[in-house]
């Protein structure tokens, strides 16, 4: 599983990568996940549904990330703008 974060002026940045089957790597992913949320980021998991349709799920806890997810994308929390 990899964690990507959108970054202004750069595009996405790889912030963490690990194997959930390895407890130490899973702990590191959990810490990285929490750190991003503490920074005010939203976390989304891109999904491929039956039939190949693309979807996404916003997740608020690491436990909600599907175990087989390949990527979690972090992006700044939405706020009223324009």
């Amino acid at each position: 599983m990899i964690f990507l974060a959108m970054k202004a002026g750069h595009g996405e940045v790889l912030i963490a990568e690990g194997d959930l089957e390895d407890p130490e790597q899973e702990r590191a992913l959990i810490a990285a996940f929490r750190a991003q949320l503490d920074l005010g980021m939203w976390a989304a998991v891109p999904l491929e549904q039956p039939g190949g349709r693309r979807a996404a799920e916003l997740v608020h806890r690491f436990e909600d990330v599907p175990r087989d997810a390949e990527r979690v994308i972090f992006f700044p929390r939405a706020a009223g703008g324009c």
Partner: protein, 146 residues
Amino acid sequence: MLTLEQLEREQRAEERAARLLRSCINQEEWAMYEAFGLIRVWARAQGSAPASTGSGPTHGYLIYAHKPLVGFLAGSLALVGEFCVAFGGERLPPSDDVLAKWLALRGDERALIASANVDPIGRQTDPARVRRDLERLAGWEAERPR
């Protein structure tokens, strides 16, 4: 005024963002983005076109980079409002802005719309242009092989 180096950096960032966007969205949404610079997202029905009977999505959104989301009704295509959202203090590359809107709409439409400043149509977008975009999309879809 940006320097050449800054322009090149922004171009590289946008290329990276476009690759990420393409890897996340549906093939026809990518084709739509390439053709028109926007993505249409139907609410509730996860990207399927509105059904002619009552079970289809009631509304949809047009996603433009660094512009408000534009909401419209599925049947009549009447424009309902501009939903202004920003992601962080610094400006994301255009395709990252589009992807952030797409992920948030797909993932939690309510949370995104609740965070938005809502304005009447015409505050920041040209209603005539948006209607034209919807018409062009309909024509483009009718011509696309299924």
